[in-house]
């Protein structure tokens, strides 16, 4: 038998970094140009190596004011530009994103830590698709069913998280621009690089100055943006706590908000599920993007009659997951985005153990530098455990069991969140029943973590309000009648 004479090994197949050119330092993108910030600066690091990638300007209140003024100035022309012309700018941007896709994917993986196969095959293609989709809406807004003569809101202040830096940018900027708004966008402090590259793409597309402004910084920069009196609309994706703070900050101001916040999704597996695909869905549901996903299927609810078998299959599958260099095309799970996030995941996992849940992770060698956490599953978890209630935002799965469909529904809905849910069963009527009963904005049945520009996304309850994507996503950027979350 020759099979053991040569091990069947996957190669380190690193994507070349040569396609990206990271500058030593970056300023702010305001009114069509990169300018020096007036505040201090901070560093962005590669979470897989802890190497400093660049020095980033931290936008001050004065910088925010400049950016909002630039956006206001640009609004006049942009909002009055015929939709078909606005559309062509968005189409241009979409095409450039496709052309520079490799560069964007590599840069995203370097700055964020996500595996190249995800940035290359998921993030960047959906980013381009999002711009293509909303480009097509720009000259068809009166057909969107949102009332006659739809009008843009004005200047949108947009704050995005670090888990899908470029994708969240696309979700925010594409519909805003299509509807005739101008934007000031703040990327997350740990992942500013692709947003800054997007600024270059705006220049390359000859987008009129001021239509898109990118201001980098941390929480205080975001607060200044939300508080700026000339911002008409706030769009935020991030934690529920910050979302609530934003809702309070804009109370009584007339500013509109779209909030896409946390989640603690139940992924429900019935005993008649297509088990191999369900296991893939569980794995994709929680380990995709290192579990840094607001809609991650972080609570596995598995029917007791099949729990043992599902867990056996799940663990076997987890043992084949490859953790490591995000730029390696064979990597399934990349680096945790920051030391801070890693500490949070470790803390909640320790609490899970302390509370009596059983922790398991496959043996895997983690690199010595950088931020890493192995794919982990907790069994023996109950609704009372903190790991079953709080968003871990990491590759940590809590497994709970149920006996009947009604118990599954009760447990799934027993959370202040309501972003997403998964259902696995081969019985059609049960799928539709579960989809009706689950209080969540997105229900994935016999699939999980699927995204598409045509498909509205957003939460119930404390997972936020407003929808991004699809026709509904337009409503967040068009005038409505006094409703915080948009008209539709």
């Amino acid at each position: 038998m020759a099979k053991n004479s040569t091990p069947f090994e996957y190669a380190p197949a690193p994507e070349s970094r040569s396609v990206v050119d990271i500058k030593a330092s970056y300023g702010l993108f305001i009114d069509g140009d990169f300018v020096d910030g007036r505040g201090s600066s901070f560093k962005t690091v590669n979470p897989a190596t802890e190497e400093t990638l660049a020095e980033i300007a931290e936008a001050s209140e004065a910088d925010i004011d400049l950016a909002v003024r630039a956006a206001r100035k640009a609004f006049r022309g942009w909002s009055r530009m015929p939709g078909k012309e606005r559309a062509k700018y968005l189409f241009r941007i979409a095409r450039i994103i496709q052309e520079r896709g490799r560069e964007l994917a590599v840069l995203e993986s370097i700055d964020n830590g996500k595996p190249i196969k995800e940035s290359r095959d998921v993030d960047v293609p959906i980013v381009a698709a999002h711009f293509f989709y909303y480009a097509g809406w720009a000259d068809k807004l009166e057909y969107a069913g949102l009332g006659p003569n739809p009008q843009p809101l004005g200047v949108a202040g947009q704050i995005i998280p670090w888990n899908f830096p470029l994708l969240m940018l696309a979700w925010k900027i594409a519909p805003a621009l299509a509807c005739g708004n101008t934007v000031v966008l703040k990327p997350a402090e740990t992942t500013p690089l692709t947003a800054l590259l997007f600024a270059e793409i705006c220049q390359q597309a000859d987008l009129p100055p001021g239509v898109v402004n990118i201001v980098t910084g941390a929480g205080s920069t975001g607060q200044a943006l939300v508080a700026h009196p000339d911002v008409d609309k706030v769009a935020f994706t991030g934690s529920t706590d910050v979302g609530k703070a934003i809702a309070r900050a804009i109370a009584g101001t007339g500013k509109l908000a779209t909030l896409e916040l946390g989640g603690k999704a139940a992924n429900i597996v019935f005993d008649d599920a297509a088990l191999d695909q369900a296991v893939e869905g569980i794995v994709g549901g929680i380990f995709f993007n290192q579990g840094h996903v607001c809609c991650a299927g972080s609570r596995l609810l598995v029917q007791e009659s099949v729990a043992e078998e599902v867990l056996h299959r799940l663990k076997r599958r987890m043992a084949t997951l490859r953790v490591g260099d995000p730029l390696d095309k064979n990597t399934d799970i990349g680096a945790i985005n920051s030391a801070e996030q890693l500490a949070k995941i470790r803390e909640l996992s320790a609490i899970g153990e302390a509370e009596g849940a059983e922790r398991w992770a496959p043996a895997c060698d983690l690199p010595s530098s950088g931020f890493w956490f192995p794919p982990t599953v907790f069994t023996g978890v109950t609704q009372a455990h903190r790991i079953a209630r709080e968003e871990v935002f990491g590759p940590v799965l809590s497994v709970l069991t149920f006996r009947t469909p009604s118990e599954a529904i009760e447990k799934a809905n027993n959370t202040p969140y309501g972003l997403s849910a998964g259902v696995w069963t081969e019985k059609g009527s049960r799928i539709l029943h579960m989809a009706n009963e689950l209080r969540a904005g997105v229900v994935w049945a016999n699939t999980f973590n699927k995204f598409d520009p045509t498909s509205p996304f957003g939460g119930y309850k404390e997972s936020g309000y407003g929808r991004e994507g699809g026709r509904q996503g337009l409503a967040a950027y068009l005038k409505s009648t006094g409703l915080k979350g948009g008209d539709l």
């Binding site: 698709a129 069913g145 009332g147 529920t240 979302g243 609530k244 703070a245 809702a247 309070r248 804009i250 109370a251 009584g252 101001t253 007339g254 909030l259 916040l261 202040p416 309501g418 799928i431 989809a435 969540a440 904005g441 997105v442 229900v443 994935w444 049945a445 016999n446 699939t447 699927k450 598409d452 045509t454 498909s455 509205p456 996304f457 957003g458 119930y460 309850k461 404390e462 936020g464 309000y465 929808r467 699809g470 026709r471 509904q472 409505s480 009648t481 006094g482 409703l483 915080k484 979350g485 008209d487 539709l488």
Partner: protein, 292 residues
């Protein structure tokens, strides 16, 4: 000697029953000229609490009714109102100081509005939901669902048409409501609750509290088991701007859907559009693979 009136103390409407306020308080309701008309219960924060419990209990059943059935029930409310026109006309005339003809007109419009909303029950989903042509082998569709328990601060001025125009859009989509009526003009709301009690509307679907929006509003706004709030009744109150901001801040505690207070009470006779309904619906998107 003239007959002495039997003076009535109107009660609250909670969970399909007519309790007095838990606080035992009531207040005098006068007509537009200041003449005593009746006593109304003065709802307290604990009445708000009880009403929210009743509403939550009713939500599952009401939201699970077929749209056709909800439509029928809203139409039934209109029928019963039609039956009790004189009482509504009198209540509106007394409350708003309107002429008999104007009161009659408002009752007409209120009934017509209910009929209009009853027809939306099985159409809104078709108008604002859609199939999404995703780039893959998946069935994908988006449909509205009710947000849940909705607090409604009813308009202070338009005691019947305004009330109906804010309550009907909330319940027609499957939500349940805890309503704080106009403080000064509660009688049409009280009569409306009597209509609801006899119109096949399940108990708890609409709960009507007579009382002060400025006092009760903050309890509703910050209640963690309330999913949305209509601040319409803030318009025209003292410190309306500040109050609205406070209520919005309270509502942020659990990220309620907020229908903001307008600067002034709107003209209720105009076409409401969809926003009174869409304010309190959630869009749910369902994916499923397409395969053999």
């Amino acid at each position: 000697m003239a007959r002495v009136d039997v003076r009535k103390t109107y009660k609250l409407y909670i969970g399909g029953a007519f309790p007095r306020s838990e606080s035992g308080h009531s207040y005098e309701v006068t007509d537009s000229k200041g003449k005593f008309v009746a006593n109304a219960s003065l709802a307290s924060r604990k009445d708000v609490r009880d009403a929210v419990v009743a509403a939550r209990k009713a939500f599952g059943g009401w939201s699970a009714r077929t749209a056709y059935n909800r439509s029928q029930i809203l139409y039934r409310i209109a029928e019963v109102m039609e039956d009790r026109r004189p009482q509504f006309e009198e209540a509106v005339r007394q409350s708003e100081g309107a002429s008999a003809a104007a009161a009659r007109g408002q009752v007409d419009e209120a009934i017509d509005r209910l009929v209009w909303y009853s027809g939306w029950a099985d159409k809104l989903g078709q108008v604002i939901g859609n199939a999404n042509p995703v780039a893959g082998p998946f069935f994908n569709h988006t449909a509205p669902e009710p947000s849940g328990v909705i607090g409604v601060l009813a308009p202070q001025t338009s005691s019947l048409l305004g009330l109906v125009s804010t309550v009907a859009p909330v319940i027609v989509t499957g939500n349940v409501a805890v309503v704080v009526s106009s403080y000064a003009r509660p009688l049409p709301a009280v009569t409306f609750s009597e209509v609801l009690a006899t119109s096949d509307v399940p108990g708890g679907v609409v709960n009507i509290l007579t009382g002060d929006a400025a006092t009760l509003g903050p309890w509703l706004a910050s209640h963690m088991d309330v999913n949305g709030i209509d601040l319409g009744g803030v318009a025209g109150l003292p410190r309306a701007g500040e109050l609205a901001a406070e209520l919005e801040i309270g509502a942020a505690d659990n990220l309620k859907r907020v229908r903001r207070a307008p600067d002034a009470e709107p003209d209720w006779s105009t076409d409401p559009g969809l926003s009174p309904m869409t304010a309190f619906v959630e869009h749910k998107t369902v994916w499923h693979p397409i395969g053999v």
